[in-house]
């Protein structure tokens, strides 16, 4: 059974001038254990795909389906999708002053545990685990007391997303340009985090502009998204080809 099955997905973004179609019949299947890289020109709809899958307000689904395991996603509230095991690493993580990272992570863990009918983690064990994860991603544990992403640098925000990925351990992770804005060391740290997360049970959709990331996180498939649908799929060598030739030959 596939982990995620998106078929013929059509979606629009709601703008002041009315709905504007962005995704125009997108089909994608992710099986357990697979990493799918999605590349494509600016504005082609990569973030839109991630947002529509996670249920961000401001988009309308005009047709098609998206199923996680056995569960159709598109009718569900964002928190229900997350509780089913979907995770989105944001291209632009949100700053929330006044809510500490620790408090935020605990609320999230508790909600997910409750939804899965598991026991909520004991606070001391939980805090220890979070601190360990933070330092494994070169995040100063002092960050945990600060407001969520508050005053974090771009790279720190991205590492925080990966820390959440490792903590929450979802079934499917959609990483939207988690590599952008990272220095070379941070890129390796983040890639190492994603590789640590990977297992034969879960899957990753990796949205990126840079072939370089794929040296560290080796994808099983590379897709090119252009003008709202996937126009080319291949293995890792496709990314090298894109690097050399750009997108023009495909569109």
């Amino acid at each position: 059974m596939s982990l995620l099955s998106v078929s013929n997905l059509h979606a629009s973004v709601v703008t002041d001038e009315g709905p504007q179609p962005i995704l125009k019949g997108l089909t994608l299947q992710v099986n357990p254990g697979e990493v799918h890289a999605i590349m494509g020109p600016n504005g082609s709809g990569k973030s839109t795909l991630a947002n529509v899958l996670s249920g961000r307000p401001g988009y309308t689904v005009d047709g098609g389906t998206a199923v996680l395991g056995n569960d159709p996603l598109l009718e569900l509230e964002p928190f229900e999708r997350a509780q089913l095991g979907l995770f989105l690493a944001f291209q632009y993580p949100v700053e929330i002053p006044g809510v500490s990272n620790m408090e935020f992570l605990k609320a999230s863990m508790d909600s997910l545990a409750r939804a899965r009918g598991e026991e909520q983690p004991n606070t001391a064990t939980f805090m220890k685990r979070v601190r360990e994860l933070a330092s494994s991603l070169d995040l100063d544990p002092a960050f945990l007391k600060r407001g969520v992403n508050e005053g974090f640098s771009g790279g720190e925000k991205k590492r925080n997303e990966i820390m959440q990925l490792l903590l929450l351990d979802p079934k499917l992770a959609v990483l939207d340009e988690t590599d952008s804005g990272l220095d070379i060391d941070a890129l390796q740290t983040v890639a190492e985090g994603v590789n640590r997360y990977r297992s034969s049970d879960n899957g990753v959709i990796l949205i990126t502009h840079y072939q370089r990331l794929l040296d560290y996180i080796v994808p099983d498939f590379v897709h090119v998204l252009s003008n709202g649908s996937i126009v080319q799929s291949g293995d890792k060598s496709l990314a090298l080809e894109l690097e050399a030739k750009g997108y023009a030959w495909l569109t």
């Binding site: 964002p78 006044g98 620790m102 605990k106």
Partner: protein
């Protein structure tokens, strides 16, 4: 609208030499009914508060009074307070005229222990005088009561420091707190104010930067819900050069609550190099929240830096989505965000109680 008037005739107090009782009454009557002052009572009924300014008062309960650096007496005021301003605070001035006694606290050096002031009722005016280079931490707590009033007059000498924390969290039918602070050269005053709305709760705060390079900070968190009300009137006067004042006031108003914030900054002629900042943020939740926020700026000097912002908003949809995308239900996410909004302004030695009362149990610490 009928004239605002005092509840009974005034005797001329000794600290107001050279004026007859009639002259003082006339002056107060005129000040109470000036158009600028009527404006300060636009959203709250003045009658109930005015009716009580002459009501009997007791001394507040004080703790940690026996320590080096503190001298506390109960007595009559013998000369006018430097911060007194009939025009700006006629009710508080009248209250001082009616009071036959005041609690006078002299701070002569660094006081090592925090001084605790506990109001369980209307209390006598409290006058705090900090000598040059002295310092004090003061904790002020107001309990619940039917109707009560407190007024505090503070004078900070050169380079004196006062860290004042105040909790007014319990319900009260009619509660008025007046605070007047004058800062001399290089003095530093900080107020952490935590307040819950009540049937009627009004806080008047008048900060006067009356010496060069003095510094005043006001951080306030308020929560008003159900049919409760909160009215905060803050005036900051910069009278001398290079003073800095910073106010951060966050209020949550939910489900039928009514909240008024009036922040006035007055920079006098000659107060060059002043830095005055005020940020008032209001978060409306649920139905029928009423929020009135009014910034007022009067600047009579060039060469000042002044920022003054007031916002009224609802929970950020971006932040809500971020939390929900991590599996947090909308209710919990809203609670976290509103708590976070208030927590930014809860600080200092009384923070723990304020967090409990205004926020309740945190999801995690």
């Amino acid at each position: 609208m009928a004239d605002l008037s005092l509840p009974k005739t005034i005797d001329a107090p000794i600290w107001l030499e050279g004026e007859t009782a009639d002259q003082i009454s006339d002056r107060l009557h005129q000040a109470l009914n000036s158009s600028a002052h009527r404006e300060r009572w636009k959203y709250t009924k003045a009658d109930g508060i005015l009716a009580n300014v002459a009501a009997p008062s007791i001394a507040p309960f004080l703790d940690s009074t026996e320590q080096a650096g503190l001298e506390i007496t109960l007595g009559q005021l013998d000369h006018a307070l430097p911060g007194i301003d009939f025009q700006q605070g006629p009710e508080a001035s009248a209250r001082l005229c009616y009071a036959d006694q005041a609690v006078i606290i002299d701070v002569t050096q660094h006081a090592p222990e925090p001084l605790r002031i506990h109001h369980r009722d209307s209390t006598l005016p409290v006058i705090i005088r900090l000598a040059a280079n002295s310092s004090l931490t003061m904790l002020e707590i107001a309990d619940s009561s039917d109707a009560m009033q407190q007024s505090i007059w503070i004078d900070l000498g050169e380079n004196a420091q006062l860290h004042h924390s105040r909790n007014a969290l319990d319900p009260c039918e009619n509660h008025w707190q007046y605070l007047n602070v004058r800062l001399q050269q290089g003095a530093n005053y900080r107020l952490n104010n935590h307040v819950a709305g009540s049937k009627l709760r009004r806080q008047d705060i008048h900060l006067i930067l009356d010496g060069q390079g003095s510094e005043a900070t006001l951080v306030s968190a308020g929560r008003v819900r159900r049919k409760d009300a909160l009215d905060q009137q803050v005036t900051v006067e910069h009278r001398q050069p290079r003073g800095s004042s910073k106010q951060t006031v966050h209020n949550i108003v939910a489900d039928g609550g009514k909240c008024t914030f009036n922040g006035r900054i007055h920079i006098h002629e000659g107060a060059s190099g002043t830095d005055a900042q005020l940020s008032n943020k209001n978060l409306g939740m649920g139905d029928h929240a009423t929020i009135n926020t009014k910034p007022e700026l009067e600047i009579y000097t060039d060469d000042v830096s002044c920022s003054h912002g007031a916002t009224v908003g609802t929970i950020s949809q971006e932040a809500l989505f971020y939390l929900m995308s991590r599996g947090v239900s909308p209710d919990t996410a809203e609670a976290l965000l509103s708590q976070g909004f208030l927590r930014q302004c809860i600080d200092g030695p009384l923070a723990e109680e304020a967090l409990q009362s205004l926020i309740g149990k945190a999801v995690a610490s």
